[in-house]
Symmetry: C2
Subunit: 229 residues, 2 copies
């Protein structure tokens, strides 16, 4: 998928919400439809658009227990995008992520750029030098996002295999991406009751230490660091 | 403007083309309308959408010589956006650019991240550590894009003041952003004849050294580095 198409896809809130849910766990149609606040006809339309644009694939699979064959959806793209818009600059770049991130040190050195070059020639030269640093930065972004993708994938697999609770996993997924969440946020987002959020967070806390204070849930990094050693 | 609106704006080719032209120089309606391949009604509609979303402002100004008052447009946003979409991750962030970029060294250190952590806890911990590196990377991106914006602004002002040719400036602007361009590209993009592109590039070459070879135009960095000293 080319860069501009992704902007078209992202330019709609329902599609963004559907993508969020799809990154969290395997989703079938009625599950997705329950999570967003529009009609199932609209959900169906948006899923079709994303499928047509090559962002999603659907596949059929039988229900876990007795039940009909269900239509599942998964994201088939792995990319990161950077866009800058100013009165003087407009550019965008799409970067395909890698299976093998480079876990090395990247140095973005802006120290040698002149703050206010005098001549037209030295201005252009400084811009060329800044472009080179941007190139390194995009390389670092590619590695970092490839690594995070790989890690979240293994975390999801491990959690579902060992603990097997999708709601706990959804809370963990959100906390890993955004650092913290209020109980209200999670209740809206996962479309479950607030007391259910608290109960699930307390269960999750047995595996990944959390702090729950002032109705805000966070990963307890200090405690996690001790447990992980 | 919130982040998602920008995706809606960018999800349309005509709007992207209009933005490109607007970053290059001061534009009035009929100039913009000439540069893109849709009707002036469509151009008007897209400009209105971007104005409504707070991305553009219009203002009236008299023509340079004798002529009617013209409606000009300028971009009022200065931001950079990062989006990642994978089967496991979906997030986006909008970063407002600064007047004062931090011209320092940023180190994105991925060396200490574990390639394949064993326990669920150490996986989550590595993700938290990766998130911290992402934070540094976004700080670097903010400084870098603020610097590039500032520099392109001064280059545009200087070029218009000293040389005053908008087509030469448009070629320079494109080369600075993309490194190189074919004559065909520039002809399509600026909506001028190919021989005009060559003539303008030769004039630009007097101020900023270029190489024109195999119908491809590039900034001659080596020569520029000598001239700028």
């Amino acid at each position: 998928m080319s860069e501009p198409d992704i902007f078209y896809i992202l330019g709609n809130k329902v599609r963004r919400d559907l993508l969020s849910h799809l990154t969290c766990t395997e989703c079938y149609f009625s599950l997705l439809s329950n999570k967003v606040s529009v009609s199932s006809t609209a959900v169906s339309k948006h899923l079709k658009i994303m499928e047509r644009e090559g962002l999603l694939k659907s596949y059929e699979k039988e229900g876990k227990f007795i039940g009909p064959v269900r239509k599942y959806y998964k994201i088939t793209l792995s990319s990161t995008y950077v866009v800058t818009v100013t009165p003087n600059l407009f550019w965008y770049r799409g970067i395909k992520l890698d299976e093998k991130p480079k876990l090395k040190r990247f140095e973005i050195d802006l120290e040698n750029l002149e703050e206010s070059p005098n001549t037209l020639q030295s201005m252009v030269l400084n811009l060329i030098d800044a472009n080179k640093q941007l190139h390194i930065l995009l390389e670092a972004l590619k590695s970092l996002e490839s690594y995070r993708d790989m890690l979240v994938k293994t975390i999801k697999e491990r959690y579902l295999k060992d603990i097997g609770d999708m709601t706990q996993l959804a809370i963990l997924h959100y906390l890993m991406l955004y650092g913290e969440a209020t109980i209200e946020d999670l209740s809206d987002r996962l479309n479950i009751k607030e007391r259910e959020v608290i109960k699930k967070a307390e269960e999750l806390n047995k595996f990944v230490p959390l702090t729950i204070k002032d109705r805000t849930i966070k990963i307890d990094e200090e405690k996690l660091r001790k447990v992980a050693k």
